[in-house]
């Protein structure tokens, strides 16, 4: 049996094919949920992220639209999930200020520094981040986990706007190497 590719499923979803949506959901549920959970550190928020992501996909508008020049489908879908998680963190943070004083949740963004201190189970990503130099850890934290804009990163790190992209690429590159080492994968280096 030929399994449809992600792109084929996506094209069917655009034609309102519910079965394709369900197949894509099954394919990515665990990965996306785990990722959202890592980003939000909260099961209710992760569930809302899942709803946001699949609703975007189904509605096929704006940032829910995939095109091949946007890169690999799975990378794109993870980016959508990451952005939905960041949005959710922002909203929850604001809401809690408005609602009631629940200080147990989301005191901070699930930033890297905080997570490393916590005794919660470490994952490979965490260890790989931990071995980066401080400046690169911070870059990953601001760009990746907190979704800062280029200008915000430039301000926070006090570096010229024009160098932000380069720093992010470098930090991510380094992170990728660390992850490969974590896994003991030889990338031929």
């Amino acid at each position: 049996m030929n399994k449809p590719t992600d792109k084929e499923l996506y094209d069917r979803i655009r034609e309102r094919d519910r079965e394709a949506l369900e197949m894509l959901y099954d394919r990515y549920e665990r990965l996306l949920y785990s990722f959202a959970f890592r980003m939000t550190n909260d099961s209710q928020a992760s569930e809302e992220v899942m709803q946001d992501v699949f609703l975007k996909l189904w509605k096929d508008k704006g940032s829910g639209q995939y095109r091949e020049e946007k890169g690999k489908f799975s990378s794109w879908l993870l980016t959508v999930t990451r952005n939905a998680s960041i949005d959710r963190n922002r909203k929850n943070k604001t809401q809690e200020v408005e609602w009631e004083e629940r200080d147990s949740r989301h005191e901070e963004m699930p930033g890297v520094e905080q997570e490393i201190e916590s005794k919660e189970e470490r994952d490979e990503l965490q260890s790989a981040i931990h071995t980066l130099p401080d400046a690169q850890q911070r870059m990953i934290c601001l760009f990746y986990f907190q979704g800062y804009s280029q200008q915000e990163i430039s301000n926070a790190c006090d570096i010229p706007l024009g160098t932000v992209k380069g720093r992010i690429r470098l930090a991510l590159q380094k992170l990728k190497e660390n992850l490969a080492e974590e896994r003991g994968i030889d990338h031929g280096k």
């Binding site: 519910r18 079965e19 949506l21 369900e22 959901y25 099954d26 549920e29 665990r30 990965l31 949920y33 785990s34 990722f35 959970f37 890592r38 099961s43 209710q44 569930e47 899942m50 709803q51 699949f54 609703l55 189904w58 509605k59 704006g62 940032s63 020049e69 890169g71 690999k72 799975s74 990378s75 794109w76 993870l78 980016t79 999930t81 952005n83 960041i86 470490r122 994952d123 490979e124 990503l125 790989a128 760009f143 990746y144 979704g147 800062y148 804009s149 280029q150 990163i153 706007l161 024009g162 932000v164 992209k165 992010i168 690429r169 991510l172 590159q173 992170l175 990728k176 992850l179 896994r183």
Partner: protein
């Protein structure tokens, strides 16, 4: 050659551009190979990290709730977010999505009897959630009655009690929209059927039974049906399930195994 638009890459990835800037950047992506490569590189690296996250088990029923939510929003075509409603607890929200999820899944014809059996094992939780659903939806209707009079949905739920000392149980949900209605029934711990026997669902209007779908059970005695009542809205006062010697009866012939009143 980097131009001004190239500097939008980071903000594009983090979705921090205005809609106009985003469209301009996407246009630019088609022309600028460097940006395409860098986008791919960053997204790959970012995506790659996601595979190294500790895998956690999604909670039970997540799929039904997520896909249910998608369908629900889709039908409403309305930006108002159920999840953003401040007075609701998470459970109520989940209840709405769960009910919609069940309808969605059955509508997709994807759920098999054995999956229904799994569903029925969550029956108690379901009952609670259905009851929450009712509250939540009635809240929602109150909220919306002033703004969108055209989309009058109503949902009623019922919990079956066995008619004698049997152990059967189940739940029913009736969703009425415009001129039509959908009835979802799921039950478990029913006696095994023989020959052509089926479990027949009846809706009662002023004490008169109207057939509303039939189902058979799996080895574990669980089963369910999603039944559409086209162009038929009634003042239903109860719902019952009887064991009929054959499908297609217009009047109950066999014994009623469970019944419930709408609440």
């Amino acid at each position: 050659m980097e131009n001004k638009t190239c500097h939008h890459l980071i903000d594009y990835i983090n979705d921090r551009l205005t809609e106009e800037e985003k469209q301009a950047f996407e246009q630019h992506l088609q022309e600028c190979e460097t940006c395409r490569e860098e986008l791919q590189e960053i997204e790959d690296a970012a995506g790659d990290t996601a595979f190294h996250v500790k895998q956690v088990d999604p909670p039970d029923g997540l799929k039904g709730r997520v896909l249910g939510h998608v369908l629900e929003e889709d039908q409403q075509e309305e930006p108002a977010r159920v999840t953003a409603k401040k007075t609701w607890s998470g459970t109520k929200t989940a209840g709405v999505a769960l009910a919609a999820g069940l309808l969605l899944s059955l509508g997709m014809n994807i759920y098999t009897t054995s999956q229904l059996q799994n569903l029925s094992s969550e029956n108690q939780e379901l009952e609670q959630e259905l009851s929450d659903t009712r509250t939540a939806l009635s809240d929602l209707q109150d909220e919306e009655s002033g703004t969108s009079p055209g989309t009058q949905d109503s949902i009623q739920t019922a919990t079956f009690l066995p008619s004698d000392e049997g152990q059967s149980g189940g739940t029913a949900a009736l969703v009425e929209q415009n001129e039509s209605a959908e009835l979802l029934v799921q039950a478990q711990n029913l006696e095994a059927l023989t020959n052509e026997e089926v479990y027949q669902v009846w809706l009662f209007e002023d004490g008169t039974p109207v057939p509303a779908g039939s189902f058979t059970t799996n080895e574990a005695g669980a089963g369910g049906v999603l039944y559409k009542l086209e162009n038929r809205q009634g003042d239903w006062d109860a719902v019952a399930v009887s064991k009929e010697p054959q499908p297609g009866n217009e009047q109950p012939q066999g014994e009623v195994v469970m019944q419930a009143e709408w609440s």
